[in-house]
């Protein structure tokens, strides 16, 4: 097989060709670098190509593999990192924001270091919504690299804030990418770009070296072409880290042969009537029918709790502290999205007692969701009520009250894991998707369910026409 034919293979498939030296690591890295260089700008997916580092790592990987020192399934696999992850060697880490265009760190984030150790090869820093959307953005043009564009429709938003991570995987610019989610930032790009995203349990992956938006809400996770790939990446990046006190000591082990087998019990949150596109509803219903031989479904409702108020208060207060000095120095004035230049000031006025009240209610949320989830292997719902927003529209107008899906809000408040997978196509040729949410530390259960679906369907293997060839 030629390296150019391998760009849409899964990590496992690509890794096997690399391990058996049927594909050369330097060759595959050059192919992805070329795709990033030529196709990346069409989707505003790339901030910085890390070609020098990648080529050096590729040579080392090739030598190691030839000498019989194979590190595992990520050895020799190129990847992109959301540009909030610190990278050394003079590679800028821009946080998607014009004021930080030239920012450089002299260390790698823990996730980057762990992927290095696994033998993966960093080929690009990927575009993102400025400051991970923390200043409050309401339309797609919220990054100094331009609006993220989904490879499925060049007039539609790739989603955010991990905009480049979603687009790059969908367009075959990288086999996998690292994104982050505070409140939707893996879910939305995975959905809009038709790829698989995994948001681990809070604390599963070290946040050291990642821009902090909200210390108790930020999670780092992979976007890739399938659930198995996401699991392989999670296995490389998860684990305790003395540099991040929130990183759990719980080990994460992934053995695809040892995953739970069907039947699975699913608590189904139906999308409701208001503001849901017909294709989203139809594809979700059909997906449940496809899963029927493997699952027992029961309609459920989320416990009634003020999820959104809790999330917004925690995010506002922690964001205001994380960016206190930046805002005091007038940094907001240089942001790309006009609405972010003033809106964030208001969000600094959360009273301390209200922030603490939100944290106290959060304990009730965590317990209530765990009680519900203890009866099921996962809760399932559409990821979003609509396909990707047009580049020319703002979210309040397009999403009409459905910008935040309740399950995403609730599960982020509780720090729970989720997997987001494509399940069809809708309006304007754009993907639709669904999310499975599990109990804390239950990533493998979600991966088992997603893999069951992906073994029976081919949505996750679909390739946008525009990117099949350079």
């Amino acid at each position: 097989m030629q390296a150019t034919e391998a760009v849409f293979l899964s990590i496992r498939q690509l890794g096997e060709l690399i391990r058996t030296q049927q594909l050369s690591v330097p060759d595959i890295v050059e192919v992805f670098l070329e795709r990033l260089r030529t196709l990346g700008p069409q989707y505003n997916a790339v901030v910085t190509l890390t070609a020098e580092r990648a080529r050096r790592q590729a040579q080392q990987a090739a030598a190691d593999i030839a000498a019989g020192h194979y590190r595992g399934p990520l050895h020799g696999i190129p990847y992109g990192a959301k540009d909030l992850l610190a990278t050394a060697e003079g590679i800028p880490t821009t946080w998607g924001a014009a004021p930080f265009r030239q920012q450089c760190f002299d260390y790698d984030a823990t996730v980057i270091r762990r992927l290095d150790q696994a033998g993966a090869i960093l080929v690009a820093k990927l575009a993102m919504v400025e400051l991970a959307g923390g200043m409050g953005y309401t339309q797609p043009h919220a990054s100094f690299t331009g609006p993220g564009i989904t490879p499925w429709n060049r007039q539609a938003w790739s989603g955010g804030s991990s905009s480049g991570s979603g687009a790059a995987v969908a367009a075959g610019l990288v086999p996998f990418a690292i994104g982050s989610e505070t409140w939707g930032s893996i879910a939305v790009p995975a959905h809009n770009c038709g790829v698989t995203g995994l948001r681990p349990t809070y604390g599963r992956v070290s946040r050291f070296g990642a821009m902090a938006l909200s210390w108790t809400l930020d999670k780092l996770g992979p976007l890739a072409r399938c659930a198995d790939d996401c699991a392989l990446v999670l296995a490389a990046i998860a684990g305790p880290d003395p540099a991040d006190p929130s990183a759990s000591a719980r080990p994460y082990v992934y053995d695809s042969q040892a995953l739970r087998r069907p039947p699975f019990r699913l608590g189904v949150l139906m999308p409701g009537e208001e503001g849901v596109q017909e294709a989203v509803r139809a594809n979700f219903t059909e997906a449940l029918e496809t899963l029927q031989p493997f699952v027992l479904c029961e309609a459920v409702e989320l416990p009634e709790l003020p999820y959104e108020a809790v999330m917004q208060t925690i995010l506002d207060a922690e964001m205001a502290s994380a960016f206190d000095d930046f805002m005091a120095q007038g940094g907001l004035a240089q942001l790309t999205a006009p609405e972010s230049r003033q809106a964030a000031y208001a969000r600094t006025m959360v009273l301390a007692k209200d922030y603490l009240r939100a944290l106290r209610i959060r304990r009730h949320i965590a317990r209530a969701l765990d009680t519900l989830l203890s009866q099921y292997d996962a809760l399932v719902a559409p990821t979003m009520a609509k396909v990707a927003c047009p580049l020319t529209m703002d979210f309040p107008t397009y999403m009409a009250g459905r910008r935040r899906e309740p399950l995403n809000t609730a599960s982020n408040a509780a720090g729970l894991p989720a997997i987001f997978i494509p399940n069809g196509f809708g309006e304007r040729g754009l993907p639709t998707g669904m999310q499975f949410v599990g109990r804390a530390w239950g990533e493998n259960g979600l991966i088992a369910i997603a893999q069951t679906y992906q073994r029976t369907t081919a949505w996750h293997t679909a390739i946008p026409e525009d990117v099949k060839k350079l």
Partner: protein, 67 residues
């Protein structure tokens, strides 16, 4: 103090903390944002809590590991 007065105070606090020149419409954006904060806070305050309800974030005293 009514809600409008407390919002005015918070807007003034913003302008004191972040002395960036703002147009009238920009000040309006801030005021609207603070109004939403107030609304969010009312939602939180409507949820009953007991004294025993602790925040989900737990403080752990720090001690460096021995070498």
């Amino acid at each position: 103090m009514d809600s409008s007065s407390s919002i005015d105070l918070l807007v003034q606090l913003v302008l004191t903390h972040y002395p960036t020149p703002l147009t009238t419409s920009q000040s309006t954006v801030i005021r609207e944002g603070i109004s939403r904060l107030e609304q969010t806070a009312r939602t939180l305050r409507a949820y009953p809590l007991d004294n025993a309800d602790e925040p989900l974030t737990v403080f752990h005293p720090y001690r460096a590991e021995r070498e």
